[in-house]
Protein backbone atom coordinates (compact mmCIF):
# COMPACT_ATOMS: atom_id res chain seq x y z
CA UNK A 1 0.00 0.00 0.00
CA UNK A 2 1.40 3.43 -0.85
CA UNK A 3 0.53 6.99 -1.73
CA UNK A 4 -2.12 9.33 -0.37
CA UNK A 5 -4.59 6.73 1.06
CA UNK A 6 -1.78 5.10 3.02
CA UNK A 7 -0.59 8.44 4.43
CA UNK A 8 -4.16 9.36 5.37
CA UNK A 9 -4.74 6.01 7.08
CA UNK A 10 -1.41 6.36 8.93
CA UNK A 11 -2.21 9.91 10.00
CA UNK A 12 -5.68 8.87 11.20
CA UNK A 13 -4.25 5.95 13.18
CA UNK A 14 -1.65 8.20 14.79
CA UNK A 15 -4.31 10.76 15.67
CA UNK A 16 -6.57 8.13 17.27
CA UNK A 17 -3.62 6.67 19.16
CA UNK A 18 -2.67 10.15 20.39
CA UNK A 19 -6.19 10.85 21.63
CA UNK A 20 -6.50 7.47 23.36
CA UNK A 21 -3.15 8.11 25.04
CA UNK A 22 -4.30 11.57 26.17
CA UNK A 23 -7.48 10.10 27.71
CA UNK A 24 -5.40 7.43 29.44
CA UNK A 25 -2.92 9.96 30.83
CA UNK A 26 -5.71 12.30 31.96
CA UNK A 27 -7.51 9.41 33.70
CA UNK A 28 -4.35 8.31 35.52
CA UNK A 29 -3.56 11.88 36.60
CA UNK A 30 -7.13 12.47 37.81
CA UNK A 31 -7.23 9.21 39.72
CA UNK A 32 -3.82 9.61 41.34
CA UNK A 33 -4.52 13.24 42.18
CA UNK A 34 -7.54 12.16 44.19
CA UNK A 35 -6.16 8.89 45.59
CA UNK A 36 -3.12 10.71 47.04
CA UNK A 37 -5.49 12.41 49.49
CA UNK A 38 -5.85 9.11 51.30
CA UNK A 39 -2.16 8.39 51.85
CA UNK A 40 0.92 10.10 53.30
CA UNK A 41 2.63 12.48 52.78
CA UNK A 42 0.00 15.22 52.54
CA UNK A 43 1.07 18.76 51.80
CA UNK A 44 -1.22 20.74 54.09
CA UNK A 45 0.77 23.96 53.64
CA UNK A 46 0.45 23.73 49.86
CA UNK A 47 -3.28 22.99 50.14
CA UNK A 48 -3.81 26.10 52.31
CA UNK A 49 -1.73 28.22 49.95
CA UNK A 50 -3.79 27.01 46.98
CA UNK A 51 -7.02 27.66 48.89
CA UNK A 52 -5.88 31.24 49.34
CA UNK A 53 -4.90 31.62 45.67
CA UNK A 54 -7.94 29.86 44.21
CA UNK A 55 -10.59 30.71 46.78
CA UNK A 56 -9.75 34.11 48.20
CA UNK A 57 -8.19 35.24 44.93
CA UNK A 58 -11.38 34.45 43.01
CA UNK A 59 -13.68 36.35 45.39
CA UNK A 60 -13.90 39.60 43.39
CA UNK A 61 -14.83 37.96 40.07
CA UNK A 62 -17.27 35.54 41.74
CA UNK A 63 -19.03 38.33 43.64
CA UNK A 64 -19.28 40.58 40.59
CA UNK A 65 -20.45 37.75 38.31
CA UNK A 66 -23.01 36.54 40.85
CA UNK A 67 -24.40 40.01 41.51
CA UNK A 68 -24.86 41.01 37.88
CA UNK A 69 -26.23 37.58 36.90
CA UNK A 70 -28.86 37.75 39.64
CA UNK A 71 -29.71 41.32 38.66
CA UNK A 72 -30.12 40.63 34.96
CA UNK A 73 -32.06 37.45 35.74
CA UNK A 74 -34.54 39.47 37.82
CA UNK A 75 -34.82 42.02 35.05
CA UNK A 76 -35.43 39.46 32.29
CA UNK A 77 -37.78 37.24 34.27
CA UNK A 78 -39.80 40.24 35.50
CA UNK A 79 -40.29 41.23 31.89
CA UNK A 80 -41.86 37.83 31.11
CA UNK A 81 -43.69 37.41 34.41
CA UNK A 82 -45.32 40.84 34.11
CA UNK A 83 -47.19 39.65 30.99
CA UNK A 84 -48.95 37.06 33.15
CA UNK A 85 -49.39 39.36 36.13
CA UNK A 86 -46.98 37.20 38.12
CA UNK A 87 -44.33 39.75 39.00
CA UNK A 88 -44.33 38.61 42.61
CA UNK A 89 -42.76 35.31 41.48
CA UNK A 90 -39.52 37.12 40.55
CA UNK A 91 -37.82 36.08 43.79
CA UNK A 92 -38.71 32.42 43.24
CA UNK A 93 -37.42 32.42 39.70
CA UNK A 94 -34.14 34.12 40.55
CA UNK A 95 -33.65 31.83 43.52
CA UNK A 96 -34.31 28.58 41.63
CA UNK A 97 -32.19 29.60 38.65
CA UNK A 98 -29.26 30.84 40.72
CA UNK A 99 -29.12 27.99 43.20
CA UNK A 100 -29.72 25.10 40.83
CA UNK A 101 -27.96 26.23 37.70
CA UNK A 102 -26.43 29.66 37.20
CA UNK A 103 -24.63 29.95 40.53
CA UNK A 104 -22.63 26.74 40.19
CA UNK A 105 -22.08 26.95 36.42
CA UNK A 106 -21.10 30.61 36.15
CA UNK A 107 -18.92 30.49 39.26
CA UNK A 108 -17.18 27.41 37.86
CA UNK A 109 -16.69 29.01 34.45
CA UNK A 110 -15.19 32.10 36.09
CA UNK A 111 -12.91 30.01 38.29
CA UNK A 112 -11.99 27.88 35.26
CA UNK A 113 -11.04 31.00 33.31
CA UNK A 114 -8.91 32.25 36.16
CA UNK A 115 -7.46 29.09 37.70
CA UNK A 116 -7.37 26.40 35.01
CA UNK A 117 -5.27 28.82 32.99
CA UNK A 118 -3.18 29.67 36.05
CA UNK A 119 -2.50 26.01 36.80
CA UNK A 120 -1.71 25.19 33.16
CA UNK A 121 0.71 28.09 32.81
CA UNK A 122 2.42 27.54 36.16
CA UNK A 123 2.86 23.79 35.77
CA UNK A 124 3.56 24.22 32.03
CA UNK A 125 6.42 26.62 32.78
CA UNK A 126 7.79 24.14 35.31
CA UNK A 127 7.48 21.34 32.76
CA UNK A 128 9.31 23.07 29.92
CA UNK A 129 12.12 24.26 32.22
CA UNK A 130 12.61 20.70 33.58
CA UNK A 131 11.50 21.71 37.08
CA UNK A 132 8.99 18.84 37.10
CA UNK A 133 11.77 16.38 36.17
CA UNK A 134 13.96 17.98 38.84
CA UNK A 135 11.21 17.38 41.40
CA UNK A 136 10.94 13.73 40.35
CA UNK A 137 14.75 13.47 40.46
CA UNK A 138 14.69 14.79 44.03
CA UNK A 139 12.41 11.91 45.00
CA UNK A 140 9.15 13.89 45.18
CA UNK A 141 5.98 12.87 43.36
CA UNK A 142 4.86 15.96 41.36
CA UNK A 143 1.25 14.72 41.31
CA UNK A 144 1.20 14.51 45.10
CA UNK A 145 3.06 17.80 45.57
CA UNK A 146 1.45 19.90 42.82
CA UNK A 147 -1.80 18.32 41.58
CA UNK A 148 -3.41 17.01 44.78
CA UNK A 149 -3.22 20.35 46.67
CA UNK A 150 -4.74 22.20 43.67
CA UNK A 151 -7.44 19.56 43.29
CA UNK A 152 -8.36 19.60 46.98
CA UNK A 153 -8.32 23.39 47.19
CA UNK A 154 -10.43 23.89 44.05
CA UNK A 155 -13.10 21.35 45.06
CA UNK A 156 -13.30 22.74 48.59
CA UNK A 157 -13.26 26.44 47.75
CA UNK A 158 -15.58 26.23 44.74
CA UNK A 159 -18.26 24.81 47.05
CA UNK A 160 -18.13 27.92 49.24
CA UNK A 161 -17.66 30.31 46.34
CA UNK A 162 -20.86 28.93 44.81
CA UNK A 163 -22.80 29.52 48.05
CA UNK A 164 -21.48 33.08 48.05
CA UNK A 165 -22.34 33.55 44.39
CA UNK A 166 -25.90 32.29 44.99
CA UNK A 167 -26.32 34.71 47.85
CA UNK A 168 -24.88 37.68 45.99
CA UNK A 169 -27.01 36.75 42.94
CA UNK A 170 -30.13 36.87 45.07
CA UNK A 171 -28.97 40.21 46.42
CA UNK A 172 -28.50 41.48 42.86
CA UNK A 173 -32.01 40.31 42.02
CA UNK A 174 -33.37 42.02 45.12
CA UNK A 175 -31.66 45.28 44.14
CA UNK A 176 -33.48 45.22 40.77
CA UNK A 177 -36.72 44.13 42.45
CA UNK A 178 -36.55 47.07 44.81
CA UNK A 179 -35.15 49.80 42.58
CA UNK A 180 -36.71 49.05 39.19
CA UNK A 181 -39.64 46.72 39.77
CA UNK A 182 -40.78 48.40 43.00
CA UNK A 183 -41.42 45.00 44.63
CA UNK A 184 -41.60 44.49 48.37
CA UNK A 185 -38.21 43.21 49.57
CA UNK A 186 -39.71 41.08 52.29
CA UNK A 187 -41.93 39.34 49.75
CA UNK A 188 -38.97 38.86 47.37
CA UNK A 189 -36.75 37.22 49.97
CA UNK A 190 -39.58 35.14 51.49
CA UNK A 191 -40.62 33.70 48.13
CA UNK A 192 -36.98 33.16 47.14
CA UNK A 193 -36.31 31.26 50.37
CA UNK A 194 -39.55 29.26 50.56
CA UNK A 195 -39.37 27.95 47.00
CA UNK A 196 -36.08 26.17 47.66
CA UNK A 197 -36.18 22.51 48.64
CA UNK A 198 -33.34 20.35 49.91
CA UNK A 199 -33.14 18.68 46.50
CA UNK A 200 -32.48 22.07 44.85
CA UNK A 201 -29.76 22.89 47.31
CA UNK A 202 -28.24 19.43 46.97
CA UNK A 203 -28.17 19.81 43.19
CA UNK A 204 -26.66 23.27 43.44
CA UNK A 205 -23.92 22.19 45.83
CA UNK A 206 -22.90 18.83 44.35
CA UNK A 207 -22.13 20.50 41.04
CA UNK A 208 -19.32 22.81 42.22
CA UNK A 209 -17.52 19.83 43.78
CA UNK A 210 -17.60 18.02 40.42
CA UNK A 211 -16.73 21.16 38.49
CA UNK A 212 -13.85 21.87 40.87
CA UNK A 213 -12.49 18.42 40.08
CA UNK A 214 -12.73 19.17 36.34
CA UNK A 215 -11.10 22.62 36.64
CA UNK A 216 -8.10 21.35 38.61
CA UNK A 217 -7.50 18.10 36.72
CA UNK A 218 -7.82 19.71 33.28
CA UNK A 219 -5.59 22.66 34.25
CA UNK A 220 -2.94 20.38 35.76
CA UNK A 221 -3.11 17.87 32.89
CA UNK A 222 -2.49 20.51 30.23
CA UNK A 223 0.26 22.07 32.33
CA UNK A 224 2.08 18.81 32.92
CA UNK A 225 1.82 17.79 29.26
CA UNK A 226 3.03 21.16 27.90
CA UNK A 227 5.74 20.86 25.25
CA UNK A 228 7.62 23.31 23.09
CA UNK A 229 8.80 26.20 25.27
CA UNK A 230 6.82 29.35 25.94
CA UNK A 231 4.63 28.81 22.88
CA UNK A 232 3.67 25.39 24.26
CA UNK A 233 2.83 26.91 27.62
CA UNK A 234 0.56 29.47 25.92
CA UNK A 235 -1.15 26.70 23.95
CA UNK A 236 -1.63 24.60 27.10
CA UNK A 237 -3.16 27.59 28.91
CA UNK A 238 -5.71 28.26 26.17
CA UNK A 239 -6.59 24.58 25.80
CA UNK A 240 -7.05 24.19 29.54
CA UNK A 241 -9.63 27.01 29.71
CA UNK A 242 -11.51 25.87 26.61
CA UNK A 243 -11.61 22.18 27.55
CA UNK A 244 -12.49 22.86 31.20
CA UNK A 245 -15.34 25.19 30.17
CA UNK A 246 -16.79 22.71 27.66
CA UNK A 247 -16.41 19.86 30.18
CA UNK A 248 -18.26 21.88 32.81
CA UNK A 249 -21.20 22.61 30.51
CA UNK A 250 -21.38 19.02 29.23
CA UNK A 251 -21.12 17.47 32.69
CA UNK A 252 -23.70 19.96 33.94
CA UNK A 253 -26.24 18.60 31.47
CA UNK A 254 -25.65 14.98 32.42
CA UNK A 255 -25.51 15.62 36.16
CA UNK A 256 -28.71 17.67 36.04
CA UNK A 257 -30.50 14.90 34.18
CA UNK A 258 -29.09 12.23 36.50
CA UNK A 259 -30.12 14.13 39.62
CA UNK A 260 -33.57 14.72 38.21
CA UNK A 261 -33.93 10.97 37.77
CA UNK A 262 -32.47 10.18 41.20
CA UNK A 263 -34.22 12.89 43.19
CA UNK A 264 -37.49 12.84 41.27
CA UNK A 265 -39.02 15.70 39.29
CA UNK A 266 -37.90 19.02 40.75
Amino acid sequence: MSGVPYRMAFSLTESVKGNVLAVQEYSILSWRGLANLFSQPRYLGDILQQMDTIGVGSLPIVILTGFFTGAVLALQSANSLARFGALSFTGQLVSMSMVRELGPVLTSLMVAGRNSSGMASELGSMQVTEQIDAMRALGTDPIRKLVTPRLTATMFMLFFLTILSDLVGLAGGSAIALLLLRLDLNEYWTSAWQTLRYADIFMGLIKPVLFGYIIATVGCYYGLSAKGGTQGVGRATTQAVVVASVFILAVDLFVTRLLMVLLGPL
Binding site: S125, T129, E130, A134, A137, L138, G139, T140, D141
Partner: protein
Protein backbone atom coordinates in the same frame (compact mmCIF):
# COMPACT_ATOMS: atom_id res chain seq x y z
CA UNK B 1 26.22 -16.48 42.08
CA UNK B 2 25.67 -15.64 38.41
CA UNK B 3 28.31 -13.11 37.26
CA UNK B 4 25.69 -10.77 35.76
CA UNK B 5 23.65 -10.73 38.98
CA UNK B 6 26.78 -10.18 41.06
CA UNK B 7 27.77 -7.32 38.74
CA UNK B 8 24.41 -5.62 39.18
CA UNK B 9 24.78 -5.70 42.94
CA UNK B 10 28.41 -4.61 43.03
CA UNK B 11 28.32 -1.76 40.51
CA UNK B 12 26.80 1.67 40.99
CA UNK B 13 25.13 1.66 37.55
CA UNK B 14 24.72 -1.18 35.05
CA UNK B 15 23.18 -0.82 31.58
CA UNK B 16 22.52 -4.13 29.80
CA UNK B 17 21.57 -4.09 26.13
CA UNK B 18 19.42 -0.96 26.50
CA UNK B 19 17.55 0.26 23.42
CA UNK B 20 15.27 3.24 22.94
CA UNK B 21 13.74 4.93 19.92
CA UNK B 22 11.51 7.95 19.46
CA UNK B 23 9.21 7.20 16.54
CA UNK B 24 11.62 6.39 13.70
CA UNK B 25 14.72 7.80 15.39
CA UNK B 26 17.02 5.36 17.17
CA UNK B 27 18.36 6.98 20.35
CA UNK B 28 20.07 4.02 22.02
CA UNK B 29 20.83 0.77 20.26
CA UNK B 30 21.74 -2.12 22.57
CA UNK B 31 23.93 -0.04 24.88
CA UNK B 32 25.75 -1.79 27.72
CA UNK B 33 28.17 -0.30 30.24
CA UNK B 34 28.98 -0.33 33.94
CA UNK B 35 29.96 2.33 36.45
CA UNK B 36 32.01 1.29 39.47
CA UNK B 37 31.38 2.72 42.92
CA UNK B 38 33.43 5.88 43.40
CA UNK B 39 34.24 6.14 39.69
CA UNK B 40 33.36 8.87 37.19
CA UNK B 41 32.40 8.09 33.61
CA UNK B 42 32.45 10.94 31.12
CA UNK B 43 29.90 10.55 28.32
CA UNK B 44 30.99 12.14 25.06
CA UNK B 45 29.28 12.41 21.71
CA UNK B 46 27.71 14.82 19.29
CA UNK B 47 24.35 16.46 20.08
CA UNK B 48 21.52 13.94 19.85
CA UNK B 49 23.75 10.92 20.49
CA UNK B 50 21.73 9.94 23.58
CA UNK B 51 23.92 11.25 26.41
CA UNK B 52 21.20 13.10 28.35
CA UNK B 53 18.83 10.20 27.69
CA UNK B 54 21.26 7.89 29.52
CA UNK B 55 21.08 10.12 32.61
CA UNK B 56 17.27 10.24 32.50
CA UNK B 57 17.09 6.46 32.04
CA UNK B 58 19.42 6.01 35.03
CA UNK B 59 17.03 8.03 37.18
CA UNK B 60 13.97 6.28 35.79
CA UNK B 61 12.66 9.58 34.38
CA UNK B 62 12.37 7.74 31.06
CA UNK B 63 11.82 4.06 30.22
CA UNK B 64 13.78 2.12 27.62
CA UNK B 65 12.02 0.02 24.97
CA UNK B 66 14.16 -2.96 25.95
CA UNK B 67 17.12 -3.88 28.13
CA UNK B 68 17.84 -3.75 31.83
CA UNK B 69 19.13 -0.86 33.95
CA UNK B 70 20.33 -1.47 37.50
CA UNK B 71 21.22 1.39 39.84
CA UNK B 72 22.64 0.74 43.33
CA UNK B 73 21.52 -2.87 43.06
CA UNK B 74 17.92 -2.04 42.16
CA UNK B 75 16.46 -2.74 38.75
CA UNK B 76 15.10 0.64 37.64
CA UNK B 77 13.45 -0.81 34.53
CA UNK B 78 11.26 -3.11 36.63
CA UNK B 79 10.15 -0.50 39.18
CA UNK B 80 6.92 1.50 39.22
CA UNK B 81 7.13 5.30 39.26
CA UNK B 82 5.87 5.42 42.86
CA UNK B 83 8.60 2.99 43.96
CA UNK B 84 11.33 4.93 42.18
CA UNK B 85 11.02 7.99 44.45
CA UNK B 86 12.80 6.18 47.29
CA UNK B 87 15.73 5.20 45.04
CA UNK B 88 15.97 8.70 43.53
CA UNK B 89 16.67 10.09 47.01
CA UNK B 90 20.00 8.24 46.83
CA UNK B 91 20.89 9.85 43.50
CA UNK B 92 21.62 13.50 42.71
CA UNK B 93 21.19 15.13 39.33
CA UNK B 94 22.40 18.45 37.98
CA UNK B 95 20.28 19.45 34.98
CA UNK B 96 21.73 21.24 31.97
CA UNK B 97 19.71 24.39 32.57
CA UNK B 98 19.94 23.92 36.36
CA UNK B 99 16.14 23.42 36.68
CA UNK B 100 16.01 25.35 39.96
CA UNK B 101 12.52 25.98 41.34
CA UNK B 102 12.09 29.61 40.34
CA UNK B 103 9.42 30.35 42.95
CA UNK B 104 11.77 29.36 45.78
CA UNK B 105 14.90 31.00 47.13
CA UNK B 106 18.33 29.41 46.89
CA UNK B 107 17.83 28.18 50.46
CA UNK B 108 14.44 26.65 49.57
CA UNK B 109 15.90 24.95 46.52
CA UNK B 110 18.84 23.40 48.35
CA UNK B 111 16.70 22.45 51.36
CA UNK B 112 13.93 20.92 49.20
CA UNK B 113 14.90 17.27 49.58
CA UNK B 114 15.68 17.64 53.29
CA UNK B 115 12.29 19.26 53.93
CA UNK B 116 10.63 16.37 52.09
CA UNK B 117 12.49 13.93 54.32
CA UNK B 118 11.29 15.85 57.43
CA UNK B 119 14.86 16.47 58.62
CA UNK B 120 14.89 18.66 61.78
CA UNK B 121 15.08 22.41 61.10
CA UNK B 122 18.50 22.94 62.74
CA UNK B 123 19.96 20.02 60.79
CA UNK B 124 18.52 21.44 57.52
CA UNK B 125 20.12 24.82 58.17
CA UNK B 126 23.48 23.24 58.92
CA UNK B 127 23.47 21.00 55.84
CA UNK B 128 22.19 23.69 53.47
CA UNK B 129 24.84 26.07 54.71
CA UNK B 130 27.50 23.35 54.35
CA UNK B 131 26.42 22.49 50.78
CA UNK B 132 26.37 26.14 49.75
CA UNK B 133 29.78 26.72 51.33
CA UNK B 134 31.06 23.74 49.33
CA UNK B 135 30.09 25.49 46.09
CA UNK B 136 31.10 28.89 47.50
CA UNK B 137 27.57 30.28 47.34
CA UNK B 138 26.95 30.79 51.05
CA UNK B 139 26.03 34.44 50.53
CA UNK B 140 23.07 33.74 48.23
CA UNK B 141 20.69 32.04 50.68
CA UNK B 142 17.82 34.51 50.31
CA UNK B 143 18.19 35.20 46.59
CA UNK B 144 15.87 33.80 43.92
CA UNK B 145 17.27 31.88 40.92
CA UNK B 146 16.34 34.74 38.57
CA UNK B 147 18.77 36.97 40.49
CA UNK B 148 21.73 34.64 39.85
CA UNK B 149 24.07 34.35 36.87
CA UNK B 150 24.22 31.11 34.82
CA UNK B 151 27.34 29.90 36.62
CA UNK B 152 25.87 30.69 40.04
CA UNK B 153 22.68 28.79 39.17
CA UNK B 154 24.77 25.80 38.11
CA UNK B 155 26.62 25.90 41.45
CA UNK B 156 23.35 26.09 43.39
CA UNK B 157 22.09 23.11 41.35
CA UNK B 158 25.21 21.18 42.40
CA UNK B 159 24.58 22.14 46.04
CA UNK B 160 20.97 20.91 45.72
CA UNK B 161 22.17 17.63 44.25
CA UNK B 162 24.83 16.94 46.91
CA UNK B 163 23.02 18.19 50.03
CA UNK B 164 21.67 14.73 50.86
CA UNK B 165 25.03 13.03 50.26
CA UNK B 166 23.88 10.93 47.26
CA UNK B 167 25.67 7.73 46.30
CA UNK B 168 25.48 8.51 42.57
CA UNK B 169 25.64 11.91 40.87
CA UNK B 170 24.47 12.63 37.34
CA UNK B 171 25.79 15.80 35.72
CA UNK B 172 24.16 16.97 32.49
CA UNK B 173 26.54 19.39 30.76
CA UNK B 174 27.28 21.34 33.96
CA UNK B 175 29.69 23.68 32.16
CA UNK B 176 27.68 24.27 28.96
CA UNK B 177 27.43 27.92 27.98
CA UNK B 178 29.71 29.14 30.76
CA UNK B 179 32.84 31.24 30.40
CA UNK B 180 36.15 29.32 30.80
CA UNK B 181 36.85 30.65 34.30
CA UNK B 182 33.41 29.70 35.66
CA UNK B 183 33.57 26.36 33.83
CA UNK B 184 36.88 25.57 35.53
CA UNK B 185 35.34 26.46 38.90
CA UNK B 186 32.52 23.99 38.22
CA UNK B 187 34.96 21.25 37.15
CA UNK B 188 36.95 21.85 40.31
CA UNK B 189 33.75 21.27 42.32
CA UNK B 190 33.17 17.99 40.49
CA UNK B 191 36.75 16.89 41.19
CA UNK B 192 36.33 17.91 44.83
CA UNK B 193 33.09 15.90 45.10
CA UNK B 194 34.74 12.89 43.46
CA UNK B 195 37.88 12.94 45.62
CA UNK B 196 36.45 14.12 48.94
CA UNK B 197 33.16 12.17 49.03
CA UNK B 198 34.07 9.34 46.58
CA UNK B 199 30.72 9.69 44.84
CA UNK B 200 30.07 7.67 41.67
CA UNK B 201 29.20 9.94 38.77
CA UNK B 202 28.09 10.05 35.16
CA UNK B 203 29.16 13.28 33.50
CA UNK B 204 27.78 14.46 30.18
CA UNK B 205 29.86 17.17 28.56
CA UNK B 206 30.68 18.71 25.21
CA UNK B 207 33.77 20.39 26.57
CA UNK B 208 36.67 18.00 26.08
CA UNK B 209 39.04 20.12 28.14
CA UNK B 210 36.70 19.65 31.14
CA UNK B 211 36.70 15.89 30.64
CA UNK B 212 40.49 15.75 30.46
CA UNK B 213 40.83 18.07 33.44
CA UNK B 214 38.65 15.66 35.42
CA UNK B 215 40.91 12.76 34.42
CA UNK B 216 44.22 14.48 35.01
CA UNK B 217 43.58 16.46 38.19
CA UNK B 218 43.15 15.61 41.84
CA UNK B 219 41.77 17.66 44.69
CA UNK B 220 44.39 18.74 47.19
CA UNK B 221 43.13 19.09 50.76
CA UNK B 222 46.24 21.03 51.73
CA UNK B 223 45.87 23.65 49.02
CA UNK B 224 42.03 23.46 48.96
CA UNK B 225 42.04 23.36 45.15
CA UNK B 226 42.54 20.89 42.35
CA UNK B 227 46.07 20.24 41.16
CA UNK B 228 47.44 18.25 38.20
CA UNK B 229 48.42 14.68 38.97
CA UNK B 230 52.22 14.85 39.20
CA UNK B 231 53.99 13.17 36.26
CA UNK B 232 54.86 9.58 37.08
CA UNK B 233 52.48 9.44 40.05
CA UNK B 234 50.56 6.17 40.37
CA UNK B 235 47.33 7.90 41.26
CA UNK B 236 44.18 6.66 39.51
CA UNK B 237 41.53 9.33 39.09
CA UNK B 238 38.94 6.58 38.42
CA UNK B 239 37.70 8.72 35.53
CA UNK B 240 36.97 6.96 32.26
CA UNK B 241 35.46 8.02 28.95
CA UNK B 242 32.65 6.62 26.84
CA UNK B 243 32.04 7.93 23.33
CA UNK B 244 28.60 7.42 21.80
CA UNK B 245 27.71 7.39 18.12
CA UNK B 246 24.28 6.66 16.65
CA UNK B 247 23.06 5.26 19.96
CA UNK B 248 25.95 2.80 20.24
CA UNK B 249 29.12 2.74 22.33
CA UNK B 250 32.03 3.60 20.06
CA UNK B 251 34.74 3.78 22.71
CA UNK B 252 35.20 3.10 26.40
CA UNK B 253 38.44 3.59 28.29
CA UNK B 254 40.78 5.95 30.12
CA UNK B 255 42.35 9.27 29.12
CA UNK B 256 45.52 7.80 27.57
CA UNK B 257 43.51 5.30 25.49
CA UNK B 258 41.13 7.88 24.08
CA UNK B 259 43.99 10.27 23.34
CA UNK B 260 45.77 7.53 21.37
CA UNK B 261 42.69 6.02 19.76
CA UNK B 262 42.99 4.79 16.17
CA UNK B 263 39.35 5.57 15.41
CA UNK B 264 39.07 8.27 12.79
CA UNK B 265 35.75 9.44 14.28
CA UNK B 266 37.30 9.87 17.72
CA UNK B 267 40.36 11.62 16.35
CA UNK B 268 38.09 14.00 14.48
CA UNK B 269 35.95 14.46 17.59
CA UNK B 270 39.00 15.23 19.74
CA UNK B 271 40.58 17.59 17.25
CA UNK B 272 40.08 21.27 18.20
Amino acid sequence: MDTAIQNREEKAVVFEDVSLRFDEQVVLDGLSFELDHGATKVLLGVAGSGKTTILKLTLGLMRPDSGRITVLGQEVTAMRETDLFELRRRIGMVFQESALFDSQTVEGNVAFRLLEEKVPEAEIQRRVSEALQFVEMGHTLKLFPAELSGGMRRRVAIARAIVSNPEVLLYDSPTAGLDPVTATTIVELLVKQRDVYKTSALLVTHRLQDAFTMATHVFSHEQNRMIPVPPGASWDSKTSFMVLKDGRKLFEGGAPEIANSDSEYIREYLSP
